[in-house]
Symmetry: C2
Subunit: 343 residues, 2 copies
């Protein structure tokens, strides 16, 4: 297990997931493991982004609502501790919507259309000009999320860097309007592990592509997924030399197997010839079964107690609500709109 983030401390960290499906091994490698480390020495908030999930799922809202507790169960099952990490629900934090409204006046449509991440996503989804307003403008809403918690560090993949740029642009505009520092810019915490490929080796693992190994996948599902993995199509006989690069089984072994030296020796053996895919797949299968068994069991136990999951989410949201409202108050002050307070 990587421990690359163990030296990061005293940061305000905001991270989160769209609640559009259960989390999978890609999340585990790309973010969940790090969060478990980061929570020890940082003030970490995880936002379950149900409202953002709706920006491209408004016509099938149950895809979002039915996954909220799944995602919370995933968090707790991998070891995120609600006593150390604030787990909260976006739709319970009105200040996030209010801040989004204020920021919307500081960002042009042209600027949003230039955002490379959104541009790519609009293309992928085939939206073109029929993109929902909420989808084109979601970087503004993300800026609201990040700044509302006063986050100093935001874990992202490099494809998400344009989001942080846009956030920091807004921060500078607000500070310039205020004539003083009201908000702080955030820094990215780039994931050092590259994205986990799908089992076919061609796309990244994705909630929406229906090809992921979920944290809750059954032993049989895991075995089936490993068996179907792309290896080296030219490696036909066991005695032949095989290619390790692009071989999904080795990519996964690198990401998940605890014994790096052993994996290096396997790679050597595979390259030389004499190591079959059935064997490497069996080693990976055993490794994934071992990692996922306790997670699956804990996840299942948690999901049988939805009232506990709700309580975790409610307590976290209560803490988050007062944090985000303090930021909203400061932003309203910049616009001269703190005439009175109804609370």
């Amino acid at each position: 297990m990587t421990n690359q983030h163990s030296k990061i401390q005293n940061q305000i960290i905001l991270t989160g997931d769209r609640a559009t499906g259960p989390l999978h091994l890609g999340h585990y490698v790309g973010s969940l493991r790090q969060r478990v480390t980061l929570q020890n020495y940082n003030d970490q908030t995880i936002l379950v982004a149900d409202m953002q999930g709706l920006t491209d799922n408004a016509n099938t809202p149950s895809k979002v609502s039915s996954n909220i507790l799944n995602v919370v169960a995933d968090y707790l099952a991998v070891g995120i501790d609600p006593a150390q990490t604030t787990i909260c629900l976006q739709s319970q934090l009105p200040a996030l919507s209010e801040i989004t409204m204020y920021y919307s006046n500081l960002v042009t449509i042209a600027r949003l259309e230039r955002n490379p991440t959104v541009k790519a996503e609009i293309n992928n989804k085939g939206f073109n000009r029929s993109v929902p307003a909420g989808f084109l403008t979601y970087p503004i809403s993300q800026a609201a999320d990040i700044t509302a918690f006063n986050a100093s560090l935001v874990p992202v993949g490099d494809d998400q860097l344009p989001m942080l740029e846009q956030t920091n642009e807004i921060v500078r505009k607000v500070n310039s309007l205020a004539g003083k520092k009201v908000l702080s810019e955030c820094q990215p915490l780039l994931s050092k592990s590259s994205r986990l490929p799908n089992t076919d080796g061609r796309t990244k693992m994705s909630k929406t592509m229906g090809n992921a190994i979920n944290l809750g996948s059954s032993p049989d599902e895991i075995t089936a997924a490993v068996k179907s993995m792309y290896t080296d199509p030219m490696h036909i006989n066991i005695k032949d030399p095989g290619k390790v690069e692009g071989n999904v089984v080795f990519t996964y072994l690198d990401a998940f197997h605890p014994d790096g030296a052993y994996i290096e020796s396997l790679k050597e053996h595979y390259r030389t010839g004499g190591l079959g895919d059935a064997t490497t797949k069996r080693i990976l299968d055993e490794c994934l079964q071992e990692i996922l068994k306790p997670i699956r069991q804990e996840r299942s136990r948690l999901l049988s107690e939805p009232s506990y999951l709700l309580q975790v989410l409610e307590q976290g949201s209560r803490i988050a609500k007062s944090k985000t409202e303090r930021t909203l108050h400061r932003i309203k002050e910049v616009f001269g709109l703190n005439l009175f307070n109804l609370e």
Copy 2:
């Protein structure tokens, strides 16, 4: 005074003004007088739209904040009674921002760009693609305002009809998603009086053009504005026949003078010849002085008591807050997002 709206009753009415300047005679004729009548037999809410005012004034926010109490004073000075009408402040109603976020997922950018009202305003302001996101999307926010109060009737000029169309489209989408009637469509209440022209006769009276007779204008300012009014440029000698159409003095006399028959006889006289502009302007000046004197005095008295104005706004906002939160609750239910309630 027109009483055309005295028969309207038992309606939920939402109306309001952007808080971007003091109100003027155009507002008085176009909406304020009607509100005084409508409040007697309807459930009327007036929204002071400070957040909407920021959509094109984010860089000069004091233009909005400094006018909030002016607008409330204008309301009370013309006879809007806070015991009959709920006067509330948009920025105090988080549910409006939250509802806007949900609706944003139901409206495409292309649809917003087709809205003729917004299109014209974007052209007028020279925004083009550098339009702030909050400005392009303000019809969504207006739909949130209207539906949050469950308004059945919305007083508008005919240039605002596309806004209500867009609102009703959203209402139908939400109801269709819910599979039942969650929201009600609204109807326009078209102002029967045409828009009051500016004193130059060419443009409509406007807060931003700096040519308006405000409700708080001093006697000298009123006289100066009347003296500068466009009449009939071909009517050079008193004895000559004059043109009444397009003659701003007569437009104003029609709008404000209580004795319609007398104005008709003046028009006849003017058309025949023998009635000078100095005389018609004196009659209009006297009429406007009489109407505006008590309003100006009351307005000035109210503005010397800002704590009372704040109290009116705070009490109204409190009532509005609970109304709008009930609607938000129903909308969140459509999206399956009422897991718990932090209040």
